[in-house]
């Protein structure tokens, strides 16, 4: 489901610098910053991100925080390609991001 009806602002957390890559479809956990009582609702998605201002102009905005919650100064553009399940298959206490990548990979294979 594409997200571009009106500009929305999303936020994501990264474990390491460089975890966010441009030009590739990436599995991501996004939280919705739309004001109101549902603010910060989470969503698992496959999305495209960009730092280029011309591309970002037609996308939703993405704010990025580090693993300790520090907000980075740059805003990215993000386009949601499709959703991944909230019930993400994996082992409790194991790496969430590995599970997210696995879910994205099986989604891509299914849709091929």
């Amino acid at each position: 489901m594409a997200s571009k009806t009106e500009e929305r602002v999303w936020e994501t957390f990264l474990r390491r610098p460089g975890d966010l890559r441009e030009g590739v479809e990436m599995p991501m956990a996004l939280r919705d910053l739309t004001p109101g009582k549902n603010k910060y609702q989470m969503r698992h998605v496959i999305a495209l991100v960009t730092r280029r201002a011309d591309e970002a102009a037609s996308m939703d905005r993405l704010r990025v925080r580090t693993v300790v919650g520090v907000l980075l100064p740059d805003t990215w553009g993000v386009r949601i390609i499709c959703d991944l399940p909230i019930e993400l298959p994996g082992r409790p206490y194991r790496d969430f991001y590995e599970a997210l990548a696995k879910a994205a990979s099986s989604k891509s294979q299914t849709s091929r």
């Binding site: 910060y40 994996g90 206490y93």
Partner: protein, 476 residues
């Protein structure tokens, strides 16, 4: 004794330990900032009466027991009680267990929501700190879970954040009682674990949920003993668990054995946000029950939060009893508030290498929450941090007096000084600073004589000076 949060709020109002905020406050950071500053100022408990985006019947009560006055009040002893007296009161009562009683219904069933009616966003969960991973609904809470093999019912205070309208993620550490039962008895069999997240029960029930209590110990019976009357429990709607009938809110869920949840990071009780993120547990909500005008209880987690009093207190007594069982000549234990449950001061009859080794091994064998231990002799009051620091500065030998034990797989992953890599491996260390004189030193010939009023003058002079004190022109 207080039957619920509302009773406790009334008592806090009467003792001057409550501040009610009528002005509308935003759940998004403002509520957290006000509550945080109140903790750091040793301020009163807070009752937020108007919360932005929410109707007037949704309120929040923050920092229930974040000062020793409020802990004393919850225990039913004078609010001016000394720290030593509060410790003694808990130690006196903790062995007197009173099992809970089951009742047919209770106020927590006034509103029952299931299926499509479930919406966690109907509760004003605050974004407590800027940059937290989510809105934490579970801070001053108790997670009720059940060990199917032994029938043990555990109450634990763990953090839980709202993921979406029907899901919570949480991080009861893998080494916690809930984490262990979940992994050993549910994940291994690929069965969902029923859990009830209770918010706003009576203060002593929450106190016991955060207590350092032995595996297999029923916190519900401990709470009954501390209260002097049994806790009334009522059955859940969607599972066999029982919860305090007078609670404000109960969230019934399944903790999923085959899913992982993104949880954190979160500004935690050590006073830092350490980057503990991902790798949580995912809970699918099956029902929410609550009072008609539910009060959300909140711990403004961080420096001098509720854990700095209650977790410290129960941890200290648990340490004392464990050391006694292992033959350590322990006299008293204090886990000071400012140490964020990372440092313990242990008073012993005598120290030395063997005692240090025994203490380190005993306190780090299953999980190691403490990273620093100060060992002092009977001449030092463990509750007087000035005297403890004096002993540390003068008696701990910088080369021979520091003993360190290293471990992996059981370190406290929230300890800020550990690297991200160490945290991933639960790898850490505990250092013991022996602030006692070496046992082989002669008391007559080698041990330095302490030059304080109490120790370096004959009794006759001390008595004379004390009785004549005002005659020297002093007022006190």
């Amino acid at each position: 004794m207080f039957k619920d949060t509302r009773d406790f709020i009334e008592a806090l109002r009467a003792s001057g330990d409550l501040h009610e905020i009528e002005k509308e406050v935003d759940w998004d950071l403002e509520l957290g900032a006000v509550s945080r500053l109140a903790c750091e100022k040793d301020g009163p408990a807070l009752w937020f009466k108007r919360i932005a985006d929410y109707p007037a019947d949704r309120t929040a009560f923050a920092n229930p027991m974040a000062t020793w006055r409020r802990v004393a009040l919850a225990f039913g002893i004078p609010v001016e009680s000394s720290l030593k007296d509060i410790y003694a009161e808990y130690e006196k009562l903790e062995g007197k267990l009173i099992p809970p009683v089951i009742v047919k219904s209770g106020p927590c069933k006034e509103v029952i929501k299931r299926g499509a009616d479930i919406d966690l966003f109907d509760l004003p969960a605050p974004m407590l700190h800027d940059g937290d991973g989510g809105r934490y609904l579970g801070t001053w809470d108790m997670a009720v879970s059940h060990d199917p093999e032994t029938n043990w019912v555990n109450w634990g205070m763990y953090r839980f954040m709202v993921y979406d309208a029907r899901y919570l993620t949480g991080f009861p550490r893998p080494t916690s009682h809930l984490g262990k039962v979940f992994q050993d008895h549910y994940v291994s069999k690929n069965k969902p674990m029923p859990m009830a997240l209770v918010i706003g029960a009576d203060p002593i029930s929450h106190f016991t949920a955060s207590a350092t209590y032995h595996i297999g110990g029923e916190e519900a019976a401990l709470a009954g003993g501390l209260r002097g009357v049994p806790v009334e429990l009522v059955g859940c709607e969607t599972n066999d668990l029982k919860v305090p009938a007078n609670a404000e809110i109960v969230i019934e869920c399944d903790v999923l054995p085959d899913c992982v949840g993104l949880e954190g990071p979160y500004g935690e009780y050590p006073g830092y946000r350490t980057g503990e993120m991902g790798n949580g547990i995912l809970c699918r909500v099956r029902a929410i029950t609550h009072r008609k005008n539910p009060i959300l209880t909140v711990d403004a987690t961080g420096y001098r939060d509720d854990s700095s009093t209650i977790t410290a207190l129960t941890g200290a007594i648990a340490i004392k009893h464990r050391l006694e069982r292992h033959g350590v000549p322990v006299l008293d234990v204090n886990v000071p508030r400012e140490g964020a449950v990372h440092t313990a001061v242990i008073g012993v009859k005598y120290g030395g290498k063997q005692v240090a080794k025994e203490i380190l091994e005993t306190l780090t064998s299953r999980r190691a929450l403490l990273s620093k231990i100060l060992l002092v002799e009977p001449d030092v009051d463990v509750y007087d941090l000035g005297k403890v620091f004096h002993a540390f500065s003068t008696k701990c030998h910088p080369a021979h007096g520091i003993h360190v034990i290293h471990y992996e797989g059981r370190a406290n992953t929230l300890t800020p000084c550990y690297s991200q890599g160490e945290r991933a491996l639960q790898k850490g260390a505990t250092a013991l600073y022996d602030c006692t004189w070496p046992g082989e030193w002669s008391r007559e010939w080698e041990v330095p004589v302490k030059a304080t009023f109490d120790t370096i003058f004959p009794d006759s002079i001390k008595q004379k000076v004390l009785s004549d004190w005002r005659s020297y022109g002093f007022k006190d």
